[in-house]
Amino acid sequence: MSLRNFISEAISPWMKNEGPDADIVLSSRVRLARNLSKPPFPIAASKEQLEEVIDLVNKKCVTHTHRKFGELELLRMEDMKKNEKRVLVEKHLISPNLSDESKAGAVLLSEDESLSIMINEEDHFRIQVLLSGFQLTEGLRYANEIDDWMEDKVDFAFTENRGYLTSCPTNVGTGLRASVMMHLPALVITRQMNRILPAINQLGLVVRGIYGEGSEALGNLFQISNQITLGKSEEDIVDDLRSVVSQLIQQERAARESLLQQSKLQIEDRVFRSFGLLSYSRTMESKEAAQHLSNVRLGIDMGLIDNVSGNILNELMILTQPGFLQQYAGEILSPEQRDQRRASLIRERLKLEN
């Protein structure tokens, strides 16, 4: 398969749309945890009881086409190869837990992959909507629509007092986890993250540096999500997260501006060194790749590099994960082989730009 074809198959259609503030917020995700009222939760249920949950969904939901998300496809974990599941994990459509631990796991996927409903993960259902850019309100609206659509057909576990009942007490109430993936290189370079992270935590939000060590997260990617699910309305939870994200966007933009004004040469040097390494390296670890991809993306967003598309960071962060590298290679790879493949895939991808 050519690289171009591979990429177009590998990248979820929802990722190709550029959402608002997509230069800083790579993606928005809204997840609702739901359970049926009768059968035990997956942790306490038998394989047979969980199969019945899948059958119920298959009968009641798959046969109906949803007006926004179209037809949903049901995939059972037991029917899939190990690397196929891994690829779904790397696309963030299923969790590793569903892939490897569930006694009878399945997922319902929409064609554009912006909607996935995990079945028999920690809860009977995990409704997840993924959108590009900063679209938390839209994400919540779509997730709510799917929730209502399902609730017409099946009985959810709900009480007035505790709300939606979930297996883990950290999800009870709304069952809502809203999150954004943010690229914040200028705040990291200007050493402001150390100050910002604790403040965000105090607001009841969780920050996770991805591929990195806290304020020096490699790839400069941060996932920010709500922690509290009980006692607040869905709208308030999303609004609180949104206002923090908006402030972070402003601060990141201001930091980029000041970098351009005060240390343009150093920033240019950093960006083009990374561009050079990505263009010519023969072997590269994922941590190193993440850092250089972040720098190149920053260069694109700051107008320093103009012949490479901005989507390259999102795309290559996913494509250079082990599952995708193996799928592209058509075989299982050792970590050393992966590093080699990763470097060559990035080189080829950059050549496509010219």
């Binding site: 009480t159 297996s167 950290t170 996932q223």
Partner: protein
């Protein structure tokens, strides 16, 4: 860098979690990441569960020596799924929706610690079940009212309310069958 879990394989996942202001770094290999169910991103975090089991107060077992006359307290056990409160405290997960009823008296402090002082739902009410809930509540209220009329021997009023209750109950049953 070697994996911090097994100290054998090369660490391939590196990340930091900050939970309630506490920063923890992780450097683990693929195999251990899978064992832990830990991955990036969007996975369940085992550290939340560790945190949680620290929050749940497990009743100390009553020692067999010493107070020989004390009967050990019967343990809370969910009739639907069989989960005991001790098991819940250990794994940090409920086994079914009925566990919430069974362990109810113990849940308020746990929820308050996890959810910044909140223990009561303040969000969405599902349309269909929500309507039924409303009807059930209304039936409860009417039953009380009916009892009051019966107590004060106003049987005509009580009969009127009984009819109202019947028609509400009928509407619930019709919906189930329909």
């Amino acid at each position: 860098m070697l994996c911090q879990e097994c100290q054998q394989r090369q660490a391939t996942l590196h990340f930091t979690k900050i939970i309630n202001g506490e920063k923890t770094e992780f450097h683990i290999c693929d195999t251990c990441a899978k064992d832990k169910g830990e991955y990036i991103p969007g996975s369940n975090s085992f550290s939340i569960h560790q945190l949680l089991s620290g929050l749940l107060d497990v009743d100390q077992p009553i020692s067999s020596s010493g107070s020989g006359f004390m009967k050990p307290r019967a343990e809370l056990r969910c009739e639907s799924c069989g989960m005991t409160y001790r098991q819940f405290a250990e794994i940090g997960r409920f086994g079914c929706s009925n566990c919430y009823k069974t362990f109810n008296e113990k849940l308020d402090p746990i929820f308050r610690r996890i959810h910044s002082g909140n223990s009561v739902h303040g969000g969405k009410v599902p349309r269909r079940i929500g309507k039924d809930l409303h009807v059930h509540k209304e039936i409860e209220r009417l039953k009380q009212q009916m009892q009051e009329f019966i107590n004060s021997e106003e049987f005509e009023q009580a009969a009127k309310i009984r009819d109202k209750i019947r028609s509400l109950e009928k509407s619930l049953n019709d919906k189930k069958e329909g």
